[in-house]
Symmetry: D2
């Protein structure tokens, strides 16, 4: 018996999930989708062959025969749509972040926790990337000793800046949009909660970010309950590609993931030297992880178990993002309670 799923939002990321659910996910069917944009709806019908296409989220969840919904809408809608879907009795997979307003995140978390039979999962796909999983396993085997420093870079390619700038008015800021993945990874790898945050940043290439009290590159330094430290860089100006790099330094060993963000196993030697070309975009880098997380979501529903990622993880990552943003704007450190 296949899980009947629907997709809310047929943008770039929505289409990735839709294709995976249509063609590569076992024991699942994609039966409906919604999007306010008529062109995207048309694409969902013709290219993806989705049978039931809606304009409104609530029409979709109430007028289709569904088991689960995948929410890939703008971040400001996440919390309300999650609650509506949970109340409609659906299992819910939601793209990161959980939300942009901490109170609403908390309320949403309560709704989810009150409906423990329904599977909820957040799209921290890096946890399903083979390299990150491999690193996590090493950490669980105590390979690192005591963790000292987590370092996470998430820098979008400069080549994508056009779309980013037009998206600025709706953006939750760099810490929310970019670093939130690293905030989740830091907690996952350090196995502790942050107790302080200090953030700085600036506009180095794109002054437009300043209009939104943001920087095109921002950095945060955190310390965790277990004393371990974390340094984060989030930016939009990488000339060489999609730069997602993670390092965890421990007393016994250090792990690095993606320090050389190579696109494949090819090395080129020519008059520029010896080089590797870099991953250019998140679909290239994390394509298999997007499939793996959706498969895990489906498998959890079938097997009546909980995904590793909880709504609390989403809540904490959003909290870290909000406080980092606040520290950056006020230029002072914040103690996290």
């Amino acid at each position: 018996m296949k899980i009947r799923t629907a997709i809310a939002g047929l943008g770039r990321m929505g289409c990735i999930h839709a294709e995976n659910l249509r063609f590569r996910t076992r024991k699942a069917d994609l039966v409906a989708a919604c999007d306010p944009d008529p062109e995207r709806r048309e694409k969902g019908k013709s290219e993806l062959g989705i049978r039931n296409i809606f304009t409104e989220f609530n029409d979709m969840i109430h007028r289709s025969d569904l088991d689960a919904v995948i929410i890939v809408t703008p971040s400001v809608f996440h919390c309300r749509q999650i609650r509506d879907a949970i109340h409609a009795g659906l299992h819910v997979f939601c793209e990161k972040p959980l939300g942009t307003d901490l109170d609403e995140c908390q309320e949403t978390a309560r709704v989810i926790e009150n409906n423990p039979e329904q599977v909820f999962m957040l799209g921290f796909m890096r946890r399903y990337d083979t390299s990150y999983r491999y690193a996590k396993q090493k950490v669980e085997e105590r390979y690192l000793g005591k963790p000292i420093l987590f370092r996470g870079y998430s820098v979008d390619p400069e080549s994508a800046i056009g779309g980013i700038l037009s998206f600025l008015p709706k953006s939750g800021g760099q810490f929310n949009d970019m670093a939130v993945h690293d905030f989740d990874l830091a907690r996952w790898f350090l196995k502790s909660e942050p107790r302080s945050v200090y953030a700085i940043g600036g506009c180095f290439a794109h002054p437009e970010f300043a209009d939104y009290d943001d920087g095109d590159n921002v950095a945060a330094l955190m310390q965790f309950e277990n004393d371990s430290m974390a340094f984060f860089l989030a930016g939009r100006t990488a000339p060489h590609g999609y730069n997602i790099e993670t390092e965890i330094i421990g007393t016994q060993a250090t792990l690095r993931i993606g320090a050389v963000p190579q696109m494949n196993l090819v090395e080129l030697m020519d008059e520029t030297g010896i080089r590797k070309e870099c991953s250019r975009s998140f679909p290239t880098r994390f394509g298999p992880a997007f499939l793996a997380e959706i498969q895990e979501f489906i498998d959890c529903i079938h097997e009546k178990r909980k995904p590793e990622i909880t709504v609390y993880d989403g809540l904490m990552a959003s909290k870290m993002a909000v406080l980092a943003t606040e520290s950056f704007r006020n230029n002072k450190p914040i103690v996290i309670k």
Copy 2:
């Protein structure tokens, strides 16, 4: 409309193709399989959910409603089964090598060429690996200048030696079993045909290979019509994993594929230094390529076009393997006519 496919052979490689056809290939169905081994037949039924399971290849192709067959049987059966399937009107995908006897290969090539409406494809999956495709594209863009040297290593992990040794009596020898992929790559990248071959080898860890007039590591040096050179190493004793490495040196640039045969993007720093763990097996290294080649086969059938790999490519690679083996055994160079 989906292509109805059948799998001949449910060994390790057969199961990889079967799973891909069952769960990940678009516009294809897996409707039948055959294998002489009852345990494998049972697995095909229960684990892979294949409806029609046969003992005999010919029963399968004549008593099922099929469009295409995927041949993953021992190399000695390839040629006959290809001919039988072509005569039965089926499209055929066959694992490498085309065969072990050159006369039979040639006869098979004729049968395939006489039935040009039926798609035939050989499983040189490396051509469908993203790294190799990327390198090939660079070559097509004349990035290398004039090609000087192709170097291909194909060395199985020592950890797999148990299975290899038990398979020795049925093996076609190292050049046939291992280097045949590199022979195909050399022609693909150098865009020329070999004109001479000289081969040597030895038993460095496993004297058992000598009983079959083979070495556990063998090497060949070839020169091609366009003067470019090729060096091949095929072996079974890699301590660090599955070592598939390719280099093409040109007058303008050099390309290397898999020179660091890393399993993922993780680097480990500890008292041993800084290191990457290596791919341990061909399914890990070439998993996505196996899927891509089968999808290409299916797409070719749908779109009534020919795959890039022809039976002639299979014939030439087998010829190179046979002559390299002969040169190694007689210890003299051979001019290829």
Copy 3:
């Protein structure tokens, strides 16, 4: 005509300079040395063949026929000895840091600036390492675009912890002992002055550091006048070797120096994967830089020109170290005036 030099301090670092001056430096002679330790004095005489050996610094500078003195004594003595030597009319090369007390550093700077005919140079040897020089040249050619982030790691090998712990009572703290090189590099590469600092840290392996209000690993986040950011990690617990790593991220490009702190050009492939062994100690990593900086000092004297490194560089690096230490101890950010 050779410059007559004397060495103050025949510890590990002093002997490196002494050997370079004796055997590898052009146009210089090593004619005297002083050390309070009789064993070291004996070694200076017998192994290094230094003619005049003293117990006291002032005896040495007044009772030998000298042009220049190289100060390699404990950091607390630096400032006074520099002043004494300058007053004695000598050219002075002093190991980093300039000093441990900012007022004394400033006074020393005044003395040096009032005697502009005498060459003064500080031992920020990284500026004379070929890799760092190459990176600096790239920066000067505007390869990076606008600088965004400087990241500097200076982590001593865990294997050296014995000596470090016994040296703790005399240590100026991690920021002073280790990060001071990175502070200098950050100013060198970013071409700007720091305007704020925030530091944290902890004892992850060695609680002894807490007795001195220090951590075995400490981190600082700074922002510079030109908005560029800098992250520093200084520690003592690297399991893999001597980890000196620098990164400068700009809007056009990124430079990394020593991201893989390999000891040589050898790669090892075995069942642990593919790896490089790491530099184990600063003499191995920076041996040629120690020679290059001393040669530069000697050449400056001969050619009557100033070294690139000024006393002001030493003053600023020490100031950054003192303020980072203060921020770490008080757990609050400091605005630098």
Copy 4:
């Protein structure tokens, strides 16, 4: 007491040795030099400060007060000059190769062996490079298990082709000029003697080499007494720099030296990807090795011991070069007796 040395030949390589002997070698003096070229003689006097400069080799060795001579003349003169110097009672260091004619090499070897009190050393400087020494030590510790394959690339940068082409009439051919280092390394690492050789090659960028029965890139495949194999590539067309790369594959491990022929520890990330620039010339790559080998020669004289490299090593490397050339020209394998 210092060893009084003289340099025969003040070309590029001669000047490297001369500078090392003048300024960086312990317990040695450079007291004389000879060169037929008046400009070079002038340079020796003014820039290097050599006191006694001669036109003729024999004048130099008989009319100066010498202990040792360093021969850096064209290869065809090596053997005669070695014999003359040995007969004059001098210790001799000679640049590779030993010679170009095997009979003369053998005669020279007899002279050297008949004068065992005099130190003789050949300039296989790679044996004194820290990376190669490190690899050798690993081999001695039996890290590799049984050796299977030695692979040696020696490819000059295309940027140097001008000088190479003008030197063609005097060249001993690629195997003699370039691969002779790899022939020596193969014997050193494999600890066995070659028993067969087969060579091929071609002109890929520079047809001028064909006029001398040579190729701009040539390759050889050898097998050794202990069955281990060796593959050699010698060429002149590397676009990325000076490509000296060595690999030794064993049953337990693989060693690679210079597989990434990086010039320093800097990585560059920009729109071309992530890259390292490569060593551009042999003085950059092997500068410290040139110093180390000369120091070893001087130390051997002082300590009355023999260098590791013997005249027999030179004889064998030259023999391999001559036979590889012969195999390439006649296009047939040669059994080595």
